[in-house]
Structure formats: C-alpha cells, structure tokens
Symmetry: C2
Subunit: 460 residues, 2 copies
C-alpha cells in the first residue's frame, strides 16, 4: 500500500519541506547496514520533540506505520521500513543540551552519536561508559531503544544502566518528559524505562539523560592466546579480581577469526597467536602508562604460572594497540565468507566452554560443511557466533538457530544478547519466549500503541 499524496503533503507540512526526504532522495543515500531500511518512500526528519509529537499524532489518527531510525547500524532488522510506512529519522535532534561535569550527567537529543558524546565528555575528563564498534554512527536514541551493550558493559552495564531519564513521544503524540538526572529516583512505576530496549515499538525516544563515568587512565593492551576456552574463563576471572589496574576490556575471539583478521591487517607477526583455539584481548588502565603496563605484565606472569597463556603479545605503542583492536573488531570473516549467519547470544561465563563445545558438535552433526567463528565480550559471556558454509547460507537462519539457541535458557543465558529482536529473532522469540511473558508483551504493546503504528511487525 502506498502512502497517499495527501498524507505525504500533510506530514511534510509539519516539519517543513527541507526536513523531508523522498524516495528519490533516499535512493542516493546510504541505507546503513540493511538496504531494506529505506523500503519506505518518505522520510520525515523532525527538528523538535513537538514536531515528533505532531507527526505521531497524525500517523496515529491516519493509521500510518512509523519506523524510527537513528544511525541505521542495527543488526537485527529493527529499522527496516516498507512502502506505505514513513521513516521518522531523529538525526536532527543532535544537540548536547547540557553536560554537568560535577554531577557527571548529560542531557542530549536522541540523534547525537555515541562518538559525538564521547568527544564532548572527554573535554571534561569523562566518558559515556558505553562503547561499541558502531560508535561513529550509532545514536543515543538507537542505543537506548536497543539497550546497547558493547565492550564495557561487564563493568558499567548496558545502556539501561546508563540511562537516568528519558523523554519519549507516545504513539498518540503525547509526550512523557522524565529527564531527571539522578541515579536514585523511585517515583512509582518506571513507565519511561519500558522504552529502553523496546526497539521503537512503543513510541519514539527524543531526549536522554545519561550518567557519565570518569575517563580511564592511559591503557595497556595485550593479545593472549589461550590453550582452551576454560583457560580463557579462568584468565577472565583472574583479571577481574586484580586490584592493580582498572579493567577496560576482556574480549574474546576464536583462532579462525583472529587468523582472518591478522591476514586482513597484514599483521604477520601476530599470526602465530591465531594457531590457538581462542585469543583474548585484555585492556587495562591505571594512573599512568607505566603503572598500566606494569599491572598488565604482572597479570600475564600470574596467568602464565597458572598455565593460562599459550602465547601473548603486548602493544608497545598506540599503533600496535589499534592493530590489536582491529584483530578483534574487523569484519574480515564476513568479507571472506559473504552470506553467513550471525547469532548474538549470552551465557553465564562459567558455562561458556561447555556451550561452545556443544555448538561445535551440533553444527558438525547437522552439516559438516558449516564453520563457526566466535567473537565477543568475554566478561559478560556475550558471544557473537558467525556460521559460514561453503557458499552463502543467509536463508538458513531458522534452520540453524535451534542448534545454537535452544540450550541457552537452561544455562541461564539469552538467545538475544545485545542486538535486539528486530525482525531477525522474532521466530526465536516466539519459539523460546515464556507464554506468560509473550502475553504481557502483547498487552503492553496494545496499551501503548493501540493502533499498531509504532515500528510495525518488529519484535512481536
């Protein structure tokens, strides 16, 4: 169903002609991770909360589907849009309204990118407390709506734990402004917090109040090849218990991932590490670079004594540190094997070795041509599993999902860790979600969005 010309004209009138993108405009622009993000043929770019409210009130009355978009870097299809719907892009709400260095709080528009917030915070010796690969494009609204996690969540929590307050526009255009900037605030049922992780299905996040952290000191970074995954888990525990440094990251990658990213980076000197089944990236910080390096070396020594280290390399300068992170974050595996499948799970870290052994065994028994690559955030047990075949297998998501997800609930884990449900994990949610919970989710959706205009078809 196409959007009628009358609706398009009326919606354009709310925000003004400069703040609209037509199908033709969109065809020349980057749709982000997923080309289907630009399936709708009209994008409205409100410049104020009031404009968002008027757009939603109009769409609610006219039963027009609304797909909110931030950085379009989501990996689960949560920003896909279709003909007949409109895109509401929040990129113009990109003002950092206030930053209070003493209280360590910030109030900012939903369209501010994580990188922009990090840069502004750094000027005050502060940081957002959340970091992830898509930092240059991901926006605060999207980070809140997906409850983003990333590298630092083991220590500073996910976006949920960073949010002090929110302003959201409900489906009917009413505005809930709860921008308190305090950690302790218990004023009855936390209505506004339902929008954290709701993936735009209840309303639109327009402004956020966040808690900031003190910037970490200078870093020291190592890549550590471990003999097996149990050693990685023990190394993670040892690292978290050290009081000689501030722990910044404990990242995991399988040897085949590290081999691919070493090749891509031309880092031949690191390739021997990738012979090990798993490689762990550890980054620590301290008062100064000397103390950080000393703390890291002491850790490596203790870990070696306990047989947890097969091989290790310590970054000697910023360029090497950048390379180490590239070994972890580069998407070389996806470039080498286009058309693979990604799964995004978490498992209590003690259960991770058994879980991954089981995954390997189930995949091999199912189809011996499948290859598993693992990257992730070890300290919170969040791993991203890439499954590749000898040729593209993108259509086999549902076939393979049960092999990797059905065991998770019994382990206390999750089939949907940090990328959200979107469209990709809907079937898994319906298969594994508790019936009582699904019923309550549907009732909440009906309560907040009785006409079903908000991000139609996503999550449920």
């Amino acid at each position: 169903m196409h959007l009628s010309t009358e609706h398009a004209v009326n919606l354009k009138a709310i925000v003004g002609p400069e703040a609209v993108r037509t199908a033709q405009d969109l065809s020349t622009r980057d749709a982000g991770v997923d080309p289907a993000n630009f399936g709708a043929s009209l994008m409205i770019r409100p410049g104020t909360t009031d404009e968002v409210a008027r757009v939603l009130a109009y769409c609610n009355a006219a039963r027009i589907g609304v797909v909110p978009q931030g950085g379009r870097t989501g990996l689960s299809g949560g920003a896909e849009s279709h003909e007949g719907e409109i895109i509401v892009a929040l990129d113009r709400l990109n003002r950092i309204e206030s930053l209070d260095p003493l209280s360590r709080t910030v109030v900012a528009g939903a369209g501010v990118t994580l990188a922009a917030l990090a840069e502004r915070s750094a000027a005050h010796g502060l940081a957002p407390g959340i970091d992830l690969g898509a930092r240059d494009s991901a926006t605060l609204g999207g980070l809140v709506s997906t409850n983003a996690g990333g590298n630092a969540a083991f220590r500073h929590g996910t976006m949920r734990d960073r949010v002090l307050g929110l302003e959201v526009v409900l489906a009917d255009g009413s505005v809930l402004t709860e921008l308190g900037q305090v950690r302790k605030r218990n004023e009855g049922l936390a209505v506004e917090r339902l929008f954290i992780g709701a993936e735009g299905t209840l309303g639109v996040v327009t402004r956020v109040a966040l808690s900031l952290i003190a910037s970490p000191g200078p870093p020291a970074t190592a890549l550590i090849a471990v003999p097996d995954l149990s050693a990685a888990v023990s190394l993670c525990d040892l690292t978290q218990r050290s009081q000689e440094f501030d722990l910044q990251a404990v990242e995991l990658m399988s040897g085949n991932h590290a081999a691919a990213t070493c090749r891509a980076a031309g880092a031949a000197q690191l390739a021997p590490l990738a012979v090990a089944p798993y490689v762990v990236l550890i980054e620590v910080s301290a008062l100064d670079a000397t103390a950080a390096a000393a703390g890291l070396l002491a850790l490596l020594e203790q870990a070696s004594e306990r047989g947890l280290v097969a091989d290790a390399a310590v970054a000697q300068n910023q360029a090497q540190r950048t390379t180490f992170w590239r070994i972890r974050e580069d998407w070389a595996v996806d470039r080498e094997h286009p058309g693979g499948l990604w799964y995004d799970v978490s498992v209590p870290v003690a259960g991770l070795p058994g879980y991954l052994i089981g995954c390997h065994a189930r995949l091999a028994a199912h189809d011996s041509s499948l290859e598993l690559f693992v990257i992730g955030h070890l300290a919170d047990g969040n791993v991203h599993l890439t499954v590749n075949g000898s040729r593209p297998i993108r259509e086999r998501y549902e076939e393979i999902a049960p092999l990797l997800t059905d065991e998770l609930a019994a382990l206390g884990g999750s089939f949907s860790a940090e990328h959200g449900i979107g469209l990709e994990k809907k079937a898994t949610l319906l298969r594994l979600g508790a019936p009582v919970r699904l019923v309550m989710m549907r009732r909440l959706k009906a309560m907040f969005d009785p006409n079903g205009i908000m991000n139609p078809g996503k999550v449920l």
Copy 2:
C-alpha cells in the same frame, strides 16, 4: 471489613497450619519500622513459588487485598496492612539456590536477607554490590521491590542495576520466571523489570538473579570536616577522579547530625569535627591496607591544598572505622527529637549546595522553630532531610513537603530517591508527577492487577 473465617481456613489450607500467623501470634512479634505493618490479622508464609501463586489466585478470585512483606524495614509505609487484607510474608523463601563464582551471579529466594547474601558471597571473594543500614533485615524481594540504593549506588548502581533476572507471581497467580543470569539479555519488552521498584503493587517477587561484584580490598576511612557544602562537592569530585584507590563510599552529614551522633557514641575526640557545617565520610580500598591508607592520605593532602578540608580524622583501626560509620549511620537525631519528619530526595550533586541553602531559607521563613538535619550519599546526590521542631511534628508532613520538594524537578532531582512512595509520598507523587506518567501508571496497574488486590492503596 474483616476477613471471613471461610477465607482464612482456605488460605491456611494452601500453606499448612504451621505457615500461618494469626492476629494473636502477630501481637507478640516485631512489626518492624512501622507498627501498622501488622494491621491485618492474618499472615500467610508460603514456602514455595507455587504456594505464592495459589494464595494469589485465591485472593484474586475472592478480591482479598494482599500486602507482601520482606524485612519490614521500609520507611515509607509500603508494607502497612489493614483489617480484611492478608499479609504474604516471603521469609520462608530464604534459600540461596545457586552461586556461580566465575560468572559472579546468584539465584536466591526473595526472603534471603542482604546480610546473608553478603556473607555467602564473601566466601567466594564476592559481594552483593549494594549495601545499606538495614542490611540484617532487608530482604532481596523488598530490595528489588523498592529499587533500594544505599551507600554503593554511586558506583554499582541501585538494585535495578544489580538485577539480572526475576521470578514474579502475578495477581492472578500466573508465574513469570525470567531468571536469566546474564547482563546482556534483550528479549523484547522487559516485562519482568516493571516489578523493580513497583513496591508490590503489580505482583510478588519470589526469586531473583543478581550480579555480584569482586569484594573490595582492605579499607581506609576518614571523616573530613569541610568549610561548606561546595567544598564537599569539590571533594567528592576530586575523590571520584582519583585512580589511586577503589572508592567505596562518600557519605555526607550535617554538623548538627554529627554532633548528635558523636554525643551518642561518646566520641568526644571527634566532636570538634562537628563544628563544621558538613562532615564527609570517605572510604577507599586498595590491594592492601598500606596502599589504601597511602591513597587516602594523598587525597587528603590534595584536598587540603585546594582548601577543601577544615579538619579531618583517619581511622587507625577497625574499632575507629566502626565508630566513624556509627557517626554517619546512628539514629541519635531521631532519638533526641522523636516525632520528626524525614524526606528522601536526590539532586544532581552540583546543584546540592544551592538546593540545601534554599531549603534552610524556606524552612526558616516558614517556621523558625524548625531545625534541618542532613545525611546522605553525596556521590549520587541523595540526601535524607530530617526536620525537627521543638515538639513532635509528625502530622506536618504535607505542610512542609512542598518547601523541600517542589524545586527538585527543575533541578533534575527527585522527590523520591531510595525509600519508595509507599503511603508517605503518595500526595507528593500526585502533586508533582507528570499527568501523562500518572495515567500510564494507572493503566499498567489495571493491566497487571485488574481487581486491585496487590498492596492496595500504596503508591497510587
């Protein structure tokens, strides 16, 4: 309205005669902070989640009000019960079911006390990450239901940030079991998280999955008299930016509070500190006691150079440390002035000096016989204001509340920081709560508890 004998007999049959307390039994027991907690004449003590579910299903069908009770240490009347209602006490759900030291997670019954969890965690070098004065009586179910805060929230968050998963019994007796033990879990709308801070108005929390932290190293503790509150805020900032120690607590008290607690403790040697307008308790920890003490002394030196210290004392041993904490936590002010009023607010810390100056001025203008005492958790801007008159003034809560709370929203603060709404702050919530939010709260209440049996009359 009395509970009929038939209902009492049927409810007793669900849990068995041993698990019931009658009005006569209750009259010989401690009702906790508030004698009105034992207003109902029947207490049911379920031993399993299934028993909770059957009790609630019965009460829902029979329209009997249910008041859940944990440690009965709540300060806002959230556990008050009345004739015709029943108390559902969770004290028998007191099993720590599993503790996974590598994953740093625990699954435990709602009736486990914070002290019991702290003790069990300590055996593994771990801690709950939350601490407060009522640790010996407060239970996990109550801590979750009030989203408790306490001394460590500035660093490890409130209970909301510690909760990984919950099991709750809904008003109709259905059970929502979401006991995932991972930090990253985004499986659609976070239905179960609505019960955090809901004060028992939506259902009953029966089990919790929590994230634990590494036990801190040996502590070093100081009481620091500051020339004024702005100096306290600067000291707090300086302390939080230090990377020479792990910061455990930054607690605030007004000089008149410290004077009262010094008298009560017989700590004449500390009394000179209480001449200052405010005293700050700082506790740090490090790898060993020597490093902690050195870090604290270095901080004091820096703070002195900046003119932030009027006087200071450093605890030389555990006995002195205990005394320092008693100076902060003892209720001497309430013993000296029975019948005073407590308010529980939070303010972004940079705004705290201006806010408290305003409070003093408004109180003096309103009634010059009123005296204000301040204690609180400085690093998250959470202060507890005690207002005393020349005689008991308990009935003047609503008269004085606007003087202390009406300015808070404009400051980004909260009129209800960590003790919950209960009965005490209902009028304030109705006065200051955003109308859109109150509407959504009522709809959520009606959705989860259509017969209004859960903790009737509380919060809204």
